[in-house]
Symmetry: C2
Subunit: 706 residues, 2 copies
């Protein structure tokens, strides 16, 4: 039986009911039900239920086009394709070894009346853990180039759910989460990172919890050639409406498209168990397979970096303390060094030595290249050239030195959001990287975008991020993007795109009001639904006055030390930083052992306990090894967790090393106390974990007696 | 005496009068007088007179800044520097062998009250043929990064002059000129090329003629890192006010600057003789010297091109007749060729053969690269990649073939104004060019700019054009920019920037209402004041139905054949196209001899007769040769011109070959008749030229008896 026949047979077996105006589709295990219907005025609508519970009430679908009639009403159903799909695929790296992609699909071809007879396809994929749908504009006469003015996608919720949200800033995701009822969404009191939009506009991934026990996550998958999706909340009806990020023209244009083209998938992950939301692979499944034929050069890794010492005011990115520099004309060798420039050859060697000694793969160096003297905040086009080291950074010597120690240097391209400047210099920057042996790059997009008027989350920048992933892939370069648009699962398609920041990272603890202890219990339910985050865990020296008593007065990370370890498990990423200074780790080498041990690639993952805003406990099996690692974190409340180790191989005995909060530990008053104990365990063991307020526990579990 | 001492001595000798609020400066021969004065509210003003005649009445100066107080009033004079300057320099190529730069300078440092005490310098350079002035913001505390919201430069004219103007379109200069009184300026009835702005907004270079016999040209010099200058006309007071081209943000921002920085020079060329306006080197003098150390690779040249045959519907740029192409995914080898694609290997060889046979240096080929199927009008980012030839264009074979014939191929980069796309591919495009032996490139910017919202004439694009000239210079590539901002003399600084279009070229005659016969008598007084134009003269087959009776029905170039020859002299450019098809020239090889003979680089130039909108007669001496070439053109009126050849070397006999309109010639009814006669001449000869309506005469003058 060939594939087409299989699809047809599956469709027949599924027994779809096909009346003229309404379609019903059930998920493979019939947990979820989708109902598609045309309104009397020919508006497409959908509704989603989980068993008897309503997930989404009937909600409209459609596209509004600029300077021409929309694709939102006046439709009849021209054609319906239904099918089911079930296969399994292996990610290049990930939380699990293989992923099942099992869904039923409904593709509704809608048509407007003659003479234009314009067509729009709405394609639904219904999984047992949620729904994905997208708009497709097929190739057709009279509709080739078009501009999306607005997308009219509604998510009409049935009740006043709890929501975990951040404001709809078109240029930043670096907010702490607000937890309110939908009726209470109001971004007005929140200090803007770049620029907040309307008071009721919030971002996806949006995590929701209903009073009747449903966990619902709204996001999107495969964001390519389109702006990011935000949501306008009707605080009285609990209806959410899509808000696309606009372009620079001021005309309200959102996306310039050419048929055939489709939007990203709009995703609704839903379960009555919070851990299942974290375990969902729906967003990955809705992305395209990897475009990289031979991915052997892509290596999940841990790294240290000349980075945190600048955040804690021990060193500086800039080489000289001057405030008026022109890239094209400055003679960098003539500047007076400020004596605090961290990215100097000697200091970088110290990090290389540390990485080599402890088996960490890479050393990130920020501030290595000229331009940091007045790099931010001036909306200036020519800031960095990406190829000129400061006079005290000997790139050749460091390349040789790192290679001799078996360590990689990681490139850093801060663009200061002058993206036109970056793009026109990217080829030369890549030549420089290849010439000096760099295999990975961290990019940064701090500040307002150039092209001026564009947004970080608009179509133009979305395309830039994807293009950069592609360009780096062509050169076999891994990439970690900071201040990018938040991920939507594209690391399946571009597995060299190891991680992004695109949320409020650990760094905020260094120089702002910081991240509340609950922050890391929310991120996996929101930002991480789209993909890995370079959160930069592993801060051991939690009281920052140690590094600079004046500048850091009263500053600390809002965590216990043990929680920092647990984050390596709860915050999945194939790229994990050991973010603190070597001298901080050298004070606590017993605890650092966990960071040395913990893998960054996994064969299996079990989300054991999870509640957004409260706690998360996850266990993961190391890639190709019978070793497990467990992380458990809590918000500001102390908790006792009982963890069944029934995922261990029956009959095998293991030694668990438990890195726990010390007696009296507390994220604020006593964050650095921890205890390490070893315990023999097997698949019948129930581990009792005691988490301090704002604390956590990390456990490594290795087989014994083999 | 060192240079500083010389300047000081000159200043003392000049005997400047320095009262607190008013300054008077006279040009070297005292023809022109500048008066600078602060108004009672501390506004800087200037006025200019030519002998007793007022050129500019007192007019305000100043800069308005965004989000901070302006630099336009509240000033006192902090400091005055005055000096004079006299030297002579040699352009890499040009109309004359050497250029005298002789001016008196007044630099007024203005200061606002403490505590800010912000400073602005207005620098005036007064020549005998005009005035240049610019704003300079020196490095100073509290004013490093700033945004120019508006420039408040006035040119208050004393009367209702005649003006030769085009509408203030921020994206195009490709208009025919309107000739009206200032009071009658109104762009409303004029069909927009891209988008007209306010009804009274017009462009520079603006040519004016007063009733009392003054010829005044307003423009700018050295436009770098700043938007182009346009002018708002007060049709009642005859005051002109600067209007800078805005950026994409919609905030009215015009220029993002970093001190120390200066604006371009605002230029006022003035004379009581029209020919002296054309002969002025003021704009070149106000530009910086060449940045190219060894310019031996820069070669003024003539070229033919696979180009006009597309304009006259004989061939096509595109390879296939399809209207929906995606650069990234199309398999070009699978397209069905339309059979009319002009840039095919065989046809290009025909042009190479023709160029080689007739001693023309280069062959431009447009439509060689994939993407022309739906390249224009869609505001699409990915249109061309600049490195992929169509299947029928064998770049390697053509490179070898051209080289074997001693001919260069000229590259073509049409960007479709997707400039972000061009910039990110420019490095690769340059590698392709170097690999295949290209030494020159013609660029094009048809359509709306991407970054969307930016304008052709805004700061961002101005920087792009300059950056492109610089980038090409680094690779020893000559460049010819079409649809660029109009030139401002930057070819002095970047002599590899041979020419620009940036006005309504000959091509408009092929497919629009065309250019009226007066057009070429105005261009030298307007567009060409800033630099050479690639006007593409030399159309011999004036009735275009010859090439495609259906598509070109009734179409013709608005010229006589002889006038096309004269344009090679009257429209100065170091890059001149022989724009017609080889088969057109082969019908008239006697006339084509002038195009073969006429140089593109000169030792001397004499503007013999000129009146904007009416006629121009120019004689030029070939580089390093005792040969002269004369061109004389008229508008729609027949004229008899008496031309004294007193520029010839006394005592030397010459043979003049006179290419004149034939009997009964007329641009519309009988354009292709011409006569060629030879005549012995010397420095005492007065040539009588009979110009037909819309006609012209070209003359080559070569010494005999040597």
């Amino acid at each position: 039986m060939n594939r087409a026949a299989l699809v047809l047979a599956a469709a027949l077996l599924a027994g779809f009911v096909v009346p003229a105006l309404a379609q019903t589709l059930r998920s493979p295990s019939r947990k979820l039900t989708l109902r598609f219907q045309l309104s009397p005025s020919g508006e497409p609508t959908y509704a989603l239920s989980f068993g008897p519970k309503t997930v989404v009430r009937p909600s409209r679908l459609g596209l509004v086009l600029q300077n021409q009639p929309g694709l939102a009403q006046g439709f009849s159903v021209a054609h319906i394709d239904s099918s089911q799909h079930d296969d399994t695929w292996q990610p290049v790296w990930g939380e699990v070894k293989s992923i099942r992609n099992h869904y039923r699909e409904l593709a509704v071809t809608l048509q407007q009346p003659a003479p234009q007879g314009r067509r729009l396809v709405v394609r639904f994929r219904l999984y047992d853990d949620g729904l994905g749908f997208r708009y497709e504009v097929p190739e057709q006469p009279g509709l080739t180039y078009f501009t999306v003015q607005d997308e009219q996608t509604e998510f009409n919720l049935p009740a006043n759910h709890h929501a975990f949200w951040i404001p709809g800033d078109y240029d930043s995701n670096e907010y702490t989460y607000s937890t309110t009822r939908l009726s209470e969404v109001n971004t007005t009191p929140i200090e803007a990172i770049q620029q907040k939009a309307a008071p009721n506009r919030i971002q996806t991934p949006l995590m929701l919890k209903s009073d009747d026990g449903l966990y619902v996550n709204l996001h999107e998958a495969a964001l390519v050639n389109y702006p990011a999706l935000m949501l306008n909340v009707d605080t009285r009806s609990f209806g959410l409406t899509s808000q696309l990020v606009p372009d620079a023209t001021g005309t309200g244009a959102k996306a310039y498209l050419q048929a055939p083209e489709h939007t990203p998938w709009r995703t609704i992950v839903v379960s009555d168990r919070a851990p299942e939301v974290l375990a969902s692979k729906l967003i990955l499944n809705l992305n395209e397979p990897s475009t990289i034929q031979n991915p052997s050069w892509i290596k999940p890794q841990k790294f240290v970096g000349v980075w945190w010492e600048m955040h804690v005011n021990k060193g500086s990115w800039n080489y000289a303390d001057v405030s008026n520099i022109k890239l094209a004309t400055t003679d960098w060798s003539q500047l007076t060094p400020n004596g605090r420039h961290a990215a100097n050859t000697q200091n970088v060697k110290r990090y290389i030595d540390f990485a080599a000694k402890h088996g960490l793969q890479s050393v990130l160096v920020e501030g290595w290249n000229v331009g940091w003297e007045d790099w931010a905040g001036n909306w200036k086009e020519e800031v960095f050239d990406f190829v000129t080291p400061y006079p005290d950074f000997n790139v050749d010597e460091l390349h040789r030195y790192a290679a001799s120690k078996g360590v990689q240097l990681m490139m850093h391209h801060e663009t200061s959001s002058s993206v036109t400047n970056y793009e026109r210099r990217q080829d030369e920057a890549l030549r420089f990287m290849k010439q000096h042996g760099y295999q990975a790059v961290k990019t940064g997009y701090v500040g307002r975008i150039i092209p001026r008027g564009e947004h970080h989350d608009g179509q133009w920048m979305v395309n830039h991020f994807v293009r950069t992933a592609q360009k780096m892939a062509q050169q076999q370069i891994m990439v970690d993007m900071h201040e990018s648009v938040r991920p939507t699962g594209l690391h399946r398609t571009y597995p060299n795109w190891l991680a992004s920041e695109a949320a409020r990272g650990n760094e905020f603890n260094a120089w702002s009001s910081g991240n509340p202890p609950e922050h890391e219990t929310i991120l996996p339910f929101t930002r991480l639904m789209g993909g890995p985050m370079d959160y930069t865990p592993g801060i051991f020296q939690i009281k920052l006055e140690r590094w600079n008593p004046t500048a850091n007065k009263g500053r600390q990370v809002h965590t216990t030390l043990a929680k920092q370890l647990a984050l390596y498990v709860t915050m999945y990423s194939p790229l994990q930083m050991a973010a603190d200074l070597p001298e901080a780790y050298e004070q606590h080498l017993d605890a650092f052992q966990f960071i040395k041990d913990v893998p960054v690639d996994w064969d299996d993952t079990r989300v054991l306990l999870a509640e957004p805003g409260d706690y998360i406990t996850i266990a993961r099996q190391a890639k190709s090894k019978d070793e497990w690692y467990l992380g458990s974190i809590t918000d500001e409340n102390a908790r006792q967790q009982q963890v069944k180790l029934d995922f261990l191989r029956p009959g095998q005995r293991y030694e668990a090393t438990i890195y726990a909060d010390g007696k009296g530990a507390h994220w604020e008053q006593n964050p650095m106390t921890y205890q390490i104990r070893k315990q023999k365990v097997d698949s019948k063991t129930v581990l009792k974990l005691q988490l301090a307020p704002g604390g956590g526990t990390a456990v490594s579990i290795k087989p014994v007696g083999q």
